[in-house]
Symmetry: C2
Subunit: 357 residues, 2 copies
Amino acid sequence: RTLRIGLIPGDGIGREVIPAGRRLLESLPSSLGLKFSFVDLDAGFDTFKRTGTALPDQTVEVLKKECDGALFGAVSSPSTKVAGYSSPIVALRKRLDLYANVRPVKTTAGGSATGSPIDLVIVRENTEDLYVKEEKTTEGPNGKVAEAIKRISERASFRIATMAGEIALRRQKIREVSPGTSHISKPMVTITHKSNVLSQTDGLFRETARQALANPKYSSVEVEEQIVDSMVYKLFRQPGYYDVVVAPNLYGDILSDGAAALVGSLGLVPSANVGDGFAIGEPCHGSAPDIEGKGIANPIATLRSVALMLEFLGEEPAAAKIYAAVDGNLDEGKLLSPDLGGNATTQEVLDDVLKRL
Amino acid sequence: RTLRIGLIPGDGIGREVIPAGRRLLESLPSSLGLKFSFVDLDAGFDTFKRTGTALPDQTVEVLKKECDGALFGAVSSPSTKVAGYSSPIVALRKRLDLYANVRPVKTTAGGSATGSPIDLVIVRENTEDLYVKEEKTTEGPNGKVAEAIKRISERASFRIATMAGEIALRRQKIREVSPGTSHISKPMVTITHKSNVLSQTDGLFRETARQALANPKYSSVEVEEQIVDSMVYKLFRQPGYYDVVVAPNLYGDILSDGAAALVGSLGLVPSANVGDGFAIGEPCHGSAPDIEGKGIANPIATLRSVALMLEFLGEEPAAAKIYAAVDGNLDEGKLLSPDLGGNATTQEVLDDVLKRL
Ligand SMILES: CC(C)[C@H](C(=O)O)[C@@H](O)C(=O)O
Ligand SMILES: CC(C)[C@H](C(=O)O)[C@@H](O)C(=O)O
């Protein structure tokens, strides 16, 4: 099977980690029976400055017509308001209907910032909530008043909760074939919301998620719920408690940064933007202007995002190989990038992972 | 001066900690020249079940007409949707225009869950954002679609940022008169927002806050900003970095639970809902049905909320006495409630604090 992969480095360290992701794909053992072809695509703030748009139509078209999946690096946000600029990754998620943002956060033997083992995945709705970006501003007697729409639909809530249920089952299956790789003992989905304040929107999310997960298919999955503020509290205090967390877009955004902090670095946390038959791997970190161009960005989040993309494209054996190689690097702990307290370069970390494939 | 204080225990452990707050006020040394009278007021889920409303008009009227301040305990949220029920504290904040929710989070010598000293205060806008609770649901071709309004006004953003600036200056003054009580060396306000997605609403918050803080009065205050997701990340990783954090309502809600987790227990974290000339002290924790009626709720959050209320009613010396007594209890660490790993009862912790006044 040959997979065509769009490469969208974006800005800053996106340009350093996406090439590492490509090298990883090119280096996969041929026994897996996978070939890759690549196409370089533009998006980001630099693209905006050059062309007036942060997400050229061309990029979307090529992804739709030619590609099986893609890797997205990071984009810088302008530090002051720039007329006409709008985040390309948010647009891409919507235009390709990549309705799930899947963010696994896992400690390896090396441990976590809190000391306790963590093995959770945040399944974030990726197309609606406040991210519909429908805003308006009016001028009133007391100055400006701006309003934004938070939209929650039954359809999007149902499909994201179903995805969470599927992921819970899949994780359980993986734990069964490789015992000892996780402290989690049974599948659980935690529904996150704030329906004590937002009874209609978050209420709809909560009820629809409960309905989706009431499907007998998921009868082995424990379903519970948590108000988003308490959830952040408990996530800090007892991160090992969670298995799969499903959340509306914005809470998912916030929770995944919180979870990333618990494992020591955003540089470790991958994500996949997943739609029907398409996936974009994307490290959770940003464009990191402070270390841009120094060759010291941690490539792990991207390498894991490559695996996650492959997983959602049905290539689980390839994904498993990558996860194992990355875990090998981290567990040995000899070649770590500066964010993890080491002094290895992006290239050295990559080479170490490739050698373990 | 005699202050009349409304007592609104609410549900669950609210009924155990608010009496402790009253005892504290009654026990303040007479040298402070303060007298108190009290009025018991209803609100909460039990009130709702009894009367059909969670916040009787009577409660609001008495607060408005008779009281100088109040103490609010906690309310339970129904675990499934209950028609007509709506959170009384959210309504109270709006009806009394208590526009600021001030939540100091501070470690004592006893230390924090992360080991590093923390001395920050979250200044949360308390009247708008998604808490305007303007929601509607429509039935579309793909099922229900619910929408909520997130409203951000220039007026509310300006006054909350001004409050943050004032608090930053006041904290600096306190550090000057009592050196060695904080690791913070200079005043700073961090503006939290998500204007990379919500350019109009959060953009307005950000710009208005910057304007308010550009007042020469605050020239000694460093002003910086952080996107809410990165903020949660950094709050976990480097909590000692923050001094004053100003945030729209919902982010403030989430961030304060995160910060509370860092100091070890929600049972330690107070808040004050502050308007012009009125303040309601409110522990950050909830009604805790799991420990209700056992007499082991941690009263510290309430005792500190009493102090915070007094601070905003202009009674700083009384507040300082309470803070010192509470810190004394925590630093000695002999009489701690179970949430802090001890086995003292609510009463024992209270008595220990009173004895230190
Ligand atoms: C850059 C930003 C628009 C984006 C988001 O909010 O989704 C980022 O924080 C993320 O989590 O991918
Ligand atoms: C109970 C709930 C409505 C409330 C809020 O969201 O403000 C609580 O979480 C708080 O922080 O005081």
